[in-house]
Symmetry: C2
């Protein structure tokens, strides 16, 4: 459409305002229709209870405000030729987004059954929040959505994630005033300290200040105008207020506010880009104060609905058919559907032309279906970052070596600008030193000369102490087709348990939708783990994220516990290439023993579980004992236990098994990675004792091996014991140390009879010696510190 | 001490400032000493590497600022006779709190071995962050602490929890500028909207703006003064700025700021209390900007330490003994310990007198050891709230009935003001209607006439949409000796997974400290659970909090799944009386079937697991089949399956088992509630098939019953399937419905041979019928909706 004929590009006219209002009425009508109507979608017949759903489930209160924002976004998209997506914080009003994408046509393109006519409208109404239909939230099923808004609080974080490295994208984000009270949302206003006006796009928050949440008022609606203004100014925003309840006045104010905001954004970007000036500007935002349930029923059953918390869900319950039916009827009629839809039930062309065209429609914008835009990463050959290994003698810091590989991911993808790493001020602490050779941290607040690796265009997003932001930004970045990972202290990843679970749910649903293209996996590196505490203690010990992940849908989740550097490189390379998974890697950051050279590591990690022949002495026979381990520290202690057992009881046939891919333990009927029973038995035997040293809570191994033939398994793992102490003592306190493993092995080998007793006594003595030594010297026994792997014939 | 002789009550003099500085130097010296010194605590001998710890672990950067706050709190405590506690947000600097409680004497009272002399000082230094010693954080071991600060973000929430209903208490809370970036902390500034100046105490936040976190600057330190000020004004605070690095200037500024803050607090309270004016005032807070690692080493190894992120942990690594030893020596000497401690190593009397006396010392304040102050709740007899039950026919809403009991807890404890309930705007949604008959919600922002049950002195804390605040406030309330519970949507309790875990860890440690008196349990009611979704869907389904809790230390955690109203009353009554536990109750809020009359319920819940004889037909014989269930919905489906089985296969001997106390399934060796193997076998048999319908993820049952004899168990539970659909369809999608249970039972009874095939066919037909019906009508089959319990002889 040329500038001349595009109404939106002209000065704001009454005609335009009228059309906007009509379009908004159409959206409101369709949103209410979805809540109530099973049939008779355009009310051409007299409305009866037969046309009404038996169970009315969904939300109304938030909807008119969100419809209002949508239509005004449409106008500026056309006026300024914008590339814009919309995130709905209060995603419980999902009917609003369906209504709008239906009006603009993007919905019917994806779901041809929901056609833009009376028949399609009827189906759209029926399917909403209905068995075998579509969810009531802005779910993956909803075109244009990348923020479901089921669990509230992440809309702004997702929006920022979306615009990083998307300089031409504007993410408008509707924030619920209730949502704004959550912790994650409250801190996410600060994200503007990490936005580069040259290389990133813009986020335009619209605070949907409708005054209420479920049944309480909101804090923002009950503080003074000055306090609201101060708050947002303090957060670095320039708030524009749009307040009122008269629709036509409000359309004018909103149109002006949107113009002002967009022009401000454009001016900021133009200045920054022309003058190469990345300094932090004051970004605009909008505070939109309207009544909750605006335009809905005023009073029902003698109680105020519009403008009150009672508008939150369904405003008319239909419990009193007579009375409620006529209320519903006059409410729906108030939108004058007959003026909006033609006799076929199609939006009239004068209104339809208000929607942007093609990919400019927010329901069709490819950024909201990121897989469409995703380019694979260019990856270095991870084998080249491997280290030489003399097993059980060489030490290295796995995370430091991984850093080298990641550094070169930055280098190789400089051009595509589609890779970032995320962490709550822990990248250094987590030993990702080498990434700083190629990349800086992102920082758009004030810079000092003394600052270390901070830059306006850094791609290491670790400048904010918030696991919520790391997770939310990363999710937004991935959902819009890019790549990255989140490196966290293992214990504090639990701060985002619920966010990770929600993302796993999102992916599970996407896997059922052919039109949602695969996106890069959500990768976690959990380090500074339970066995690696120095400065910290009990509060920093929680390996339970694995248990949490294990409960999610099998086709979505993966867990890796590489025992050394070469394995970590192999696992990470695998994860960073994968799509649509949630991958959790537990990694070691301290100097630790190395076991496999690169060739062995690739084989081992590809299989996910394997017998370490070079450490075993069962030589193709049935072993007496399986010593299994999973995780770096358990592997060390198992290997140390094996040296003791082989030295002391050389006739014992011991098989050493190491597990990298935890889901190998699960049945192949339950997880795609699971071993078949015969494969499992070939490794773990059907009945020989398995002494299993595990990184996390023992119950996870119990859970995964629940149905396996061999139930003669004794699992050692974290028992919720520990405080500040030596590394080895942490293991002793949780009985995962070599001495306790040896004791347990002997106790599982009744055939040794009395022969084992002396060794048990020796182990007990060692444990006492250990305790006395550390209490005196504050460090571990020399034999522990200096331990090296050996076989009896090669001491 | 009389006013006249109390130096603090005089106008601020140079003498006073000098003394404050000396006291601060003493605290800094003791804090640094804890990090480094194994011996030679007062450096009377020349310092050698033998006096230095082998492994130096702890934090320095945050310490001097916190010591600074402590000594200034001491001054105002004495000046104004305050009842004050101190919460340390950046709890990683735990040495600061040990140093100060040691100086004031409260430490040695609790730990007599750490005496106030050279020998005690040496022990105190050695034990810090040392094996068999004390943690580096403000852990339970630290007198005066109720906020460990290991996982950052909860200090302000805890502080508000502490002052609710403590009108004379001031909680000073040091907030890390890094901590302030976390979501929970960011939203917690809003807590002042819930503080009543008449009936609650005051929180005095001190933002410890030292500019850095681990290795990044902080956002607050890199925005303008105007932005900081706006931010806090917007949050409803009146910030007082204290900024600089010259100690003597800063002491003066800080003393004045503290006076100003305390006087403002007193004026607010006086006005409110005299004039009965509970309107929200602007509470004071302090922004304290000082260099990180203030007074510590300036430059080490050519790099700036003081005033940089490098001061965060240990400023001098001691890796270059020669050079570092002399740096350490001159740093420690800079505090002039010889002026501060006498020849015996005791703080000189002129300084010792600066500390408050007795319980006024912050390390001895009983509010920080809440069990000392805790009064038991007066509780109504829960039996009186029970309902009449015709089993499997009566329906009731468990949460509504529970509301009646809780209402009367409010009534009975009106005087003691020591009970509150917490929730994120969900009390109504969770059907706690009846509590509103006796109590209001707390709200101290603007009130409107149209507001519903909001009041300035409400005790229902559900006005803020933040699970973090609910949890943090409640923890603070409990830790200071009061009672309450948190009712949450089951799925969104996972937002606070990590907080609940940290509290469980806190309790576990307290159980080992005789001086920490038991406090009321942390009680969760999880409702709107996975099986009870209407308006919501997949995002609202997560029963995994139980799995999370199950991993915590057995002596601390408890889980209850009452199947009906009378059982819920019994369980809740038990929990609310208990001490030092984390109790999770899963409860139903929708109209649901009732099974047990009150007498039966008490017996059943007291035993925690039991055979429902009246529903079984094995009559004292070995059954063919055990139908087990846990949770309200699983119980319903199991009972419905039993009616089908008994009608169709009357010769089958079926035992019905219901589990309320989930830990009964665990071995008695692992959990105090666990059944012994023989008790367990008497209920579940050793080998008969057990069809177990469970509320949550099946793996939790696998985990708990891992070592039991009877491994012939088939668990049905949540399989991560579901969206918006009918209640019964949710069960079908997860195969926990009656039809699937019947099918599974038959498949576990090979003795039925072909006899079961027809019933399987019938069940499959039912499942198809169900799907078709709901897709058409949007509600469940009539036979499902109208189902009632019966026995074959009493249809
Ligand atoms: C983390 C979280 N806690 C609780 C809820 C339950 N909940 C659903 S909607 C809602 C109120 C939302 O209020 P607001 O953000 O103001 O949205 P609106 O008024 O636009 O509906 C609440 C508390 C939730 N969805 N997520
Ligand atoms: C939730 C959480 N995430 C990460 C950490 C790791 N961590 C420990 S200290 C610290 C920096 C704290 O900075 P600040 O609050 O400014 O404290 P201070 O400067 O006073 O040491 C971080 C990120 C943590 N303890 N908790
Ligand atoms: Mg709202
Ligand atoms: Mg700091």
């Amino acid at each position: 459409m040329s500038e001349n004929t595009c109404l939106e590009k002209q000065p704001l006219s009454q005609e335009m305002l009228d059309k906007i209002d009509a379009y908004w009425r159409a959206a409101n009508y369709l949103s209410a229709g979805q809540l109530y109507l099973l049939d008779n979608p355009l009310m051409k017949e007299p409305l009866t209870m037969d046309h009404i759903k038996k169970k009315i489930v969904g939300h109304w209160g938030t909807v008119p405000g969100q419809n209002f924002v949508y239509v005004h976004c449409n106008r500026v998209i056309k006026r300024y030729d914008l590339d814009m997506i919309l995130l709905s914080g209060p995603g419980h009003g999902g009917n609003f987004m369906i209504a709008n994408t239906y009006l603009e046509g993007s919905y019917s393109e994806i779901y041809p059954n929901i056609s833009q006519d009376e028949e399609g409208m009827k189906k759209m109404f029926k399917q909403f929040s209905f068995p075998c239909g579509v969810p009531s939230h802005c779910a993956p099923e909803t075109p244009g959505s990348i923020n479901e808004g089921g669990e509230l609080g992440y809309s702004i974080a997702h929006a920022f994630g979306a615009v990083f490295d998307n300089p031409d994208l504007i993410a408008t984000v509707i924030v619920g005033d209730g949502e704004a009270e959550t912790g994650p949302l409250a801190t996410s206003w600060q994200s503007n300290k990490f936005l580069n006006p040259i290389t990133d796009g813009a986020v335009l928050p619209v605070l949907n200040l409708n005054g209420y949440k479920i049944s309480n008022p909101t804090i923002f609606s009950r503080i003074s105008h000055e306090e609201i203004e101060s708050y947002f100014v303090g957060c670095g925003w320039e708030p524009i207020f749009v307040e009122g309840d008269d629709p036509m006045t409000m359309h004018k104010l909103m149109a002006e506010a949107m113009d002002q905001a967009v022009e401000k954004i454009k001016a900021i970007q133009e200045n920054a880009r022309k003058n190469n000036d990345p300094e932090r500007p004051k970004w605009p935002m909008i505070v939109l104060r309207t009544p909750k349930g605006w335009t809905g029923p005023k009073v029902v059953d003698g109680q105020q609905i519009e403008g009150s918390f009672r508008a939150h869900q369904v405003p008319i319950t239909m419990e009193k058919p007579e009375e409620h039916l006529s209320l519903l009827k006059s409410w729906l009629e108030s939108y004058r559907p007959e003026e909006l839809f033609d006799e076929k039930g199609t939006l009239i062309p004068e209104l339809a032309e208000l929607a942007p065209k093609g990919d400019a429609r927010m329901g069709a914008n490819p950024h909201a279906n990121g897989g469409l835009l995703m380019k694979d990463l260019r990856l270095p050959d991870f084998r080249e970052y491997g280290i030489e290994v003399d097993p059980g003698k060489t030490k290295a810091q796995d995370m430091i070596e991984l850093g080298g590989y990641i550094r070169d991911i930055f280098v190789l993808n400089k051009e595509n600008q589609n890779f970032r790493i995320f962490g709550p001020d822990e990248s250094m602490s987590n030993r990702l030193y080498k990434v700083f050779e190629a990349e800086n941290r992102d920082w758009n607040a004030e810079l000092l000369d003394s600052d270390d690796c901070l830059a306006r265009n850094g791609r290491i997003m670790d400048g904010m102490l918030s696991e919520h932001m790391c997770e939310g930004w990363l999710e937004g970045y991935l959902l819009t087709g890019r790549h990255g990972f989140f490196a966290s202290y293992e214990a504090f990843i639990r701060v985002v348990d619920s966010m990770a679970a929600q993302h796993a749910k999102w992916l599970k649903v996407c896997n059922q939708l052919t039109w949602r293209r695969p996106i890069a996996s959500l990768n976690f590196i959990l380090t500074s783990n339970v066995w690696q505490q120095d400065h910290n203690g009990f509060t920093h010990q929680d390996p339970g994220f694995l248990d949490h992940i294990a409960n999610k849908k099998a086709d979505v989740v993966r867990m890796y516990l590489p025992p050394d550097t070469n394995c970590l490189l192999s696992c990470f390379d695998h994860c960073v290439k994968s799509k649509n998974y949630v991958n959790a890697i537990v990694a070691s950051k301290h100097p630790s023993y190395q076991w496999l050279n690169m060739e062995q590591a690739v084989k081992h990690c590809t299989q996910g579980v394997g017998i370490w022949e070079w450490a075993s002495n069962d030589e193709g026979q049935e072993p007496d004992l399986v010593m299994a381990c999973c995780g770096d520290t358990p592997t060390l202690e198992t290997m140390a236990a094996v040296t003791i057992l082989r030295d002391e009881l050389p006739e014992l046939k011991i098989r050493v098994v190491n597990v990298v891919d935890l889901f190998k333990l699960e049945s192949n009927h339950k997880h795609p990675h699971g071993l078949s029973d015969s494969e499992y038995n070939a490794i773990f035997t059907t009945d020989k004792p398995v002494i299993f040293a595990f990184h996390g809570y023992p119950t996870l191994i119990h859970e995964l091996t629940y149905r396996r033939d061999n139930q003669n398994v004794s699992v050692h793992g974290y028992q919720e014991e520990g405080t500040i102490t030596t590394p080895f003592d942490m293991r002793v306190q949780n009985e995962i140390d070599r001495f306790n493993l040896v004791k347990d092995a002997i106790m599982h080998l009744p055939q040794l009879a009395n022969r084992g007793s002396y060794l048990i006594q020796k182990m007990n003595d060692k444990l006492v010696e250990h305790k006395q030594y550390i209490a005196e010297y504050g460090q571990d026994l020399e034999e522990v510190r200096d331990w090296e792997w050996h076989t009896p014939d090669n001491k």
